[in-house]
């Protein structure tokens, strides 16, 4: 087999230390048919054209280029080799500059080291196999799970680019959590004012025809992989047809009530109800469990009151929908850490101890008290404690800082100052965090509130909230050891953000991994924070990490960007050939490969009792190749034969 060896002098960078002529003479004598050429600056235009012409004239079977690091020019030379009509994987690139000439002062030693390196490349290249990039058809359509700010923004962005989007939301309404907030930090704008225009675009905008919105829906099953995911979606019936005009006559007429989860169960709603004032789409839905019809009664008061015949449809059925998409964006949000796990804070036991989410609703004009901040006894609070870092920065609970709680705590301070001037506000905190270019004014404003005090605690376990004469008695120990006592009319707890229950369910359906707080793991926390651990599945918003609307929105665009660049309409997906391959005849079906694969690229066929590698998902690390006890897996371009040949040639 004819090997063409090309040694670059790199000006004098290599030739000062490595005697290429001596080297060529020694190496070519060991490989019959091979030839060697010394090239000055092989990466220059002249060097490259010499190389290309020389290849065409000499037609070697294999090529070895000894120059700088392959991390710089290997791909350039693979392309030149390919253009010369030789399979690019017949090239081996040897690093005799960074790893030889520049670090070995003695020319004799340098020439020796370079000779060994080139000899092992020559031995290896004989075993190299021709490989081809292959292509696969892919769907450009996208599934977005969750219609909060992140899901809405990514769906809209993709729809604007002409992509078909299936937007799945488990609630009967879109907008996620912040659409329930009266005001948003840092500019104190109203939540619905910010989000309703986005919601309206998704529902009725110029590109809404590209978005299939499925409400009250959840993902039941996902099979397939990047480019071709088959998704099964389960939709519970709404019992209200979209022909509804949203007048609310049915709600008035309904005789049955249940607790209102959109107000954190703090009040009641009808069995047929619009989730909250301003909810979009402006359609009621029937909570079947509380509807009298579910109890066998023949009530149809809602239908009777409805001015649009057929809008209330009791025969609506659960549906299972199948969709094929190329990529998935997960935007299912987060939830608050369960305050009951910190029993000393009295949540659920002591009256008027609320979570921050409950307080958002109390402060909201469309909430249970129509925006009036009052205690359960109906009085305006004269004093209020806001406890930061509930379950955060705490090894006994969650070690992370959620990064947004301080800001909404100061937002609460401003809301209270505005609505109830003179009300004392006590901020109990472990750390204060207000990072970002526009966020410090929130803290600054709270500090300037003459009725606000700041108390720093060391350990939240040393705060005790108890019921005292219709108020809350709060005993605490400060970080400096001093103990103190407060009496307040209301306590608001700001808990850590953690992964939601939906994310736990999705993690198992999509094979995604999560951290101990329940947030999805990223492909890389810095460079690829919007990419999940599974190829073709992207993360947007607070299901990946605690974040505010700005962060969620930015990440939504990042996730959509991955889809737009990776799955262009009409473009096939390229499958890189450096992947692992299972020899079915040798596979014993032990499945060790599947355990060690970091990308879940290996599946097991129970009928044939063998494993197989999905080449599209495989990243070519070779971990499974090394793990296979039967030697049944080949790592393309890094085969055992190739590596053994290198070892042998180095040590000959």
């Amino acid at each position: 087999m004819k090997i063409g060896l090309y040694i670059c002098t790199c000006g004098t960078n290599i030739s000062d230390k490595v005697d290429s002529e001596k080297l060529i003479a020694e190496v070519t004598s060991q490989f019959p048919d091979s030839y060697g050429a010394t090239v000055e600056f092989i990466c220059s235009a002249e060097g490259k054209s010499f190389f290309s012409e020389h290849l065409v004239a000499n037609r070697p079977d294999r090529v070895v280029v000894a120059a700088c690091s392959p991390r710089e020019y290997e791909s350039t030379f693979m392309q030149l080799v390919s253009e010369a009509g030789i399979n690019p994987y017949f090239l081996q690139f040897v690093n005799i500059r960074e790893q030889v000439a520049w670090v070995t002062p003695d020319p004799e030693q340098a020439t020796r080291k370079a000779t060994i390196a080139i000899r092992s490349a020559m031995a290896r290249v004989l075993h190299q196999q021709p490989l081809e990039k292959t292509e696969m058809e892919a769907s450009p359509d996208v599934l977005v799970i969750g219609a909060g700010p992140a899901g809405l923004q990514s769906a809209l962005f993709l729809a604007e680019a002409g992509r078909k989007v299936v937007l799945v939301e488990k609630a009967p309404v879109i907008g996620g959590m912040p659409v329930l907030f009266e005001e948003l930090f840092p500019a104190m704008e109203c939540g619905p004012c910010l989000l309703e225009p986005v919601e309206a675009e998704v529902l009725h905008g110029d590109h809404a025809h590209n978005i299939e919105l499925l409400l009250q829906s959840e993902i039941a099953e996902v099979t397939g992989y990047y480019g071709n995911f088959n998704v099964k979606i389960q939709q519970t019936p709404r019992y209200v047809d979209p022909m509804c005009i949203g007048c609310g006559e049915c709600v008035e007429a309904c005789p049955a009530s249940t607790t209102n989860k959109f107000n954190c169960d703090m009040d009641q709603k009808k069995a047929i109800a619009i989730p909250f004032l301003g909810a979009l789409p402006n359609l009621p839905y029937i909570d079947w469990a509380s509807c009298l019809r579910s109890k066998g009664e023949d009530c149809q008061l809602c239908s009777d009151a409805c001015p649009v015949p057929g809008a209330v449809c009791f025969d609506d059925k659960e549906r299972v929908l199948d969709r094929n998409v190329g990529a998935i964006i997960v935007a299912v949000g987060s939830q608050l850490y369960d305050c009951r796990k910190l029993g000393n804070l009295g949540y659920g036991e002591v009256p008027d101890v609320y979570t921050s989410l409950e307080f958002e609703r109390i402060a909201a004009a469309n909430g249970p008290t129509a925006g009036e901040i009052k205690t359960s006894a109906g009085r305006a609070p004269e004093s209020m404690a806001i406890v930061h870092c509930v379950g955060s920065l705490d090894p006994a609970h969650q070690p992370h800082c959620s990064g947004i709680c301080c800001e909404y705590a100061f937002k609460f301070n401003r809301i209270v100052e505005h609505k109830l001037p003179g009300t004392k506000v006590y901020h109990l905190y472990k750390e204060l965090v207000v990072a970002g270019k526009s966020d410090f004014p929130m803290l600054d404003h709270a500090r300037k509130n003459p009725d606000a005090s700041f108390i720093r605690f060391g350990n939240i376990a040393e705060i005790k909230v108890s019921s005292s004469d219709g108020k809350q008695a709060i005993e605490y120990r400060q970080a400096d050891g001093q103990v103190g006592k407060l009496t307040t009319d209301m306590v608001v707890l700001c808990p850590a953000m953690v992964g939601s229950e939906s994310s736990a369910k999705l993690a198992s359906i999509l094979d995604l991994s999560r951290n101990q707080a329940g947030f999805f793991d990223e492909m890389n926390g810095r460079l690829h924070a919007a990419q999940s651990t599974v190829k073709g599945i992207y993360l947007a918003g607070s299901c990946q990490a605690p974040m505010d609307i700005r962060g969620a929105s930015t990440q939504a665009m990042a996730a959509a960007g991955y889809v737009l660049s990776g799955l262009a309409d009409g473009k096939k997906l390229t499958i890189e050939p450096i992947v692992a391959k299972v020899d079915e005849d040798r596979c014993s079906g032990c499945r060790i490969c599947g355990v060690v694969c970091p990308y879940k690229a290996i599946s097991f066929d129970p009928d044939k009792h063998v494993s197989s590698v999905n080449e599209l998902i495989c990243h070519g690390c070779g971990t499974c190749v090394a793990a296979c006890p039967a030697g049944a897996i080949q790592g393309n371009h890094f085969t055992n034969d190739q590596i053994f040949a290198e070892i042998e040639a180095i040590l000959q």
């Binding site: 500059r97 960074e98 092992s120 060690v596 070779g622 590596i643 070892i647």
Partner: protein, 147 residues
Amino acid sequence: MTMQTQPNTESFEPKIVGFLCNWCSYAGADKAGASQTPYPPNVSVIRVMCSGRVDPQFVLEAFRKGADGVMILACHPGDCHYKEGNYRAVQRHRILLQVLEEFGIEKERCKFDYVSAGEGEKFVRVITETVSSIKALGPLRLRTPVA
């Protein structure tokens, strides 16, 4: 370890095979090159995409074919380009050391370490220290051939 004669560390130049992962340790070696920091020429590099590709067979084969030492250099924990290949590599290395001991091969001859893409200096240090510790051990003489 009684079968070895006292080596002459002055003239003995050990042959060492170094398995470097493409993303961290190989790039670290390139950094050492870019800063032109000299180090002993005894280590011949085999580039693999991930330290997780290093099959224990490769190490055994290297010793069988006459290597005096083998190095496996990986990305730092948490930095693996392939997420967790380096954890597999370090697990395998630990087990491998026990196997090597069975053959009378000192554990110092099979070095595992973490070198990041920025750690040119550490690369030089690890290479220099390993070469010198293997020089001190002298040439490898196998009691029985490694199968």
